[in-house]
């Protein structure tokens, strides 16, 4: 059983994190959709099998927009936060693999303003966003102990 912390500075922080994620995913998702051909070219230059590129061209921007959309509604906000975390972990793991020279070449980065960042900068920003998302997901709930049992004594019952 969990309890939400409301009206605290944390609630404000959580809302700010959600706003940041909405801005990020709407921006990156629509950046890709507005320049789909450009994004396809970028994907072809990534060290991924080319057979997946036509599919990934649509999957990534749609997932990003869908994630941002989930964050807008109260009922789906938590799903949106989990989806944000999953996407950020996926992207960060990929950047980590690039930085560790896991691939045979270092590809150019993705769309939007993020193309101006170096891979280490991109990695640091992603790590920060993962931490903020975790904070929004897991620190907003306090564990509660098991419900206290009411001991009914024969005396109380009698009265």
């Amino acid at each position: 059983m969990t309890r939400k912390v409301k009206g605290s500075p944390f609630a404000l922080l959580k809302h700010c994190v959600e706003a940041l994620l909405v801005l990020l995913f709407m921006y990156t998702g629509f950046s890709k959709l507005f320049a789909l051909e450009d994004f396809t070219g970028t994907l072809y230059n990534q060290p991924i099998p080319h057979v997946f590129v036509p599919l990934l061209t649509w999957i990534f921007p749609c997932l990003e927009v869908l994630t941002a959309g989930c964050l807008l509604f109260g009922r789906t906000r938590r799903i949106g936060l989990y989806s944000s975390l999953a996407l950020m972990i996926l992207f960060t793991a990929y950047i980590g693999a690039i930085l560790l020279h896991f691939f045979h070449k270092t590809p150019c980065s993705c769309g939007g303003i993020f193309r101006t960042l170096t891979w280490p900068q991109h990695f640091a920003i992603n790590l920060g966003l993962i931490m903020l998302t975790c904070l929004a997901l897991f620190q907003g709930r306090k564990p509660q102990g098991p419900p206290s049992k009411t001991i009914s004594s024969p005396i109380n019952s009698a009265t």
Partner: protein
């Protein structure tokens, strides 16, 4: 059902608008020249441009455009803008032959 967060909707709209205004300029492919990069022949007789142009400050979509790679990755470069060769020397892309690349032979990676 809980209500929609209108402040987040405004932020979402701002994100979409920012994405639209920052979308890369499309340069007509006819005004661009095509190059290969990342590879060189093992005998060293042919060198293909081995730089990540984005990391050098060139803007994809403006200075160059990546083309669907086949055996080697290629890019279309804007001939009016300078690029850098393997030795770090800047050159203008009109100095580079537009066609006649020899893509045959054994290629190896730079790194």
């Amino acid at each position: 059902m809980k209500k929609i967060a209108f402040d987040l909707v405004l932020i979402a709209l701002f994100g979409i608008a920012a994405a639209y205004t920052n979308k890369p300029l499309t340069v007509g492919p006819k005004s661009l020249h095509k190059y290969s990069y990342w590879y060189t022949t093992t005998d060293g007789s042919k060198i293909y441009y081995g730089f990540d142009l984005t990391s050098l400050g060139y803007t994809q979509g403006l200075d160059y455009d990546c083309v669907t790679p086949a055996a080697t990755c290629t890019f279309d470069g804007d001939p009016t803008r300078a690029h850098s060769d393997l030795g770090g020397q800047y050159f203008f892309s009109w100095d580079v032959p537009v066609s006649g690349f020899n893509n045959t032979g054994t290629f190896c990676l730079f790194d």
